[in-house]
């Protein structure tokens, strides 16, 4: 059976999980909170968790990491059966510059969301040049080692960007 046919046969729901090549799994459908104010994000996350979503995609640039994280914590308080491990929280580095700034910025994001760790941390864009990308990526790798981040990845990378950073990037995604 072809890959497309197999995918068509599958049933998709908020319970569907995808497997990553580092062996971990995550929900297939996430709530996006791009361009939401803190207040909007907070109520959207609560609605989403109620509906059965277990993944939220935020970013430093959205300026709502705090409200997203707190909405998750609030929900968990009301639903003690729900474990932190069942939630998948994504956020992204606003800009690639140097290692120290990136590493500090990741810690700041962890603090901001209040969730203890970030499930998926992405470089938001390839901007800044190759050195800035690699230095920022090294910060993501170290944050994984330090337990602040579970999985690393990239965003808005074209084929060339993926290719040039592949040796490192494919280690975690």
């Amino acid at each position: 059976m072809s890959k497309v046919a197999k995918m068509a046969d599958q049933t998709y729901s908020l319970a569907t999980r995808v497997k990553l090549n580092n062996g971990s799994v995550m929900p297939q459908i996430h709530l996006g909170v791009y361009l939401m104010s803190g207040r909007e994000a907070s109520s959207a996350v609560a609605h989403a968790l109620d509906a059965g979503y277990r993944a939220v995609d935020s970013a430093q640039m959205y300026h709502n990491e705090k409200q997203v994280g707190h909405a998750v914590l609030e929900y968990m308080k009301k639903h003690p059966d729900l474990k932190r491990e069942e939630i998948h929280y994504t956020t992204k580095l606003a800009s690639n510059s140097n290692y120290e700034r990136a590493r500090k910025s990741i810690s700041q994001s962890v603090k901001e969301c209040g969730l203890g760790y970030i499930d998926l941390f992405l470089l938001h864009s390839p901007y800044g040049g190759k050195q800035a990308r690699l230095d920022s990526w090294r910060a993501v790798e170290d944050a994984i080692q330090d337990g602040e981040v579970r999985i690393g990845g990239v965003s808005n990378f074209g084929e060339k960007h993926v290719r040039s950073s592949e040796a490192r990037v494919t280690t975690f995604h």
Partner: protein, 141 residues
């Protein structure tokens, strides 16, 4: 993991194929094309055929391609609706029809700032310094 803009109007086929061949999961942002093509005749007719909403059709298309769609909505009904895609399955031919809608429609964050009157003020306020740090051309901010 590479998160990029992907929907039937911007399929990024080369890039998504490249990623998937290498086991890099593709996360699809703007899976609903920011609601800019909800009234497109093909979308409307396929939604009718599968008795779903245009939004559900597009999320399901994303899932069937093996992507991880990130639909955005602030409204409770829409949040529920967007993820309720288990009741139908798009057949192979209709998947191809949807793939062929590709027009490289880039709805990404910087485009939004150029296309509406009010949004750019908000976007600039939020992205102003961030945009400069990213080294974006002024006209894109």
């Amino acid at each position: 993991m590479n998160q990029i803009e992907v929907h039937p109007f911007n399929t990024r086929t080369n890039l998504t194929t490249y990623c998937q061949q290498r086991d890099i999961v593709v996360e699809a942002y703007a899976p609903l094309a920011r609601a800019l093509r909800m009234k497109h005749p093909t979308i409307v007719s396929l939604a009718k055929k599968y008795t779903c909403t245009p939004g559900q059709l597009m999320v399901r298309w994303s899932c069937q391609h093996g992507f991880v769609p990130l639909p955005k909505s602030v409204r409770k009904e829409r949040i529920v609706e967007n993820a309720d895609v288990g009741g139908f399955s798009i057949d192979a031919e209709d998947m191809k029809t949807m793939d062929a809608l590709d027009e490289y429609l880039v709805t990404g964050m910087f485009w939004v700032a150029r296309s509406f009157e009010i949004v750019p003020l908000i976007v600039c306020a939020r992205l102003g310094s961030g945009g400069r740090r990213l080294g974006l051309p002024r006209r894109l901010m």
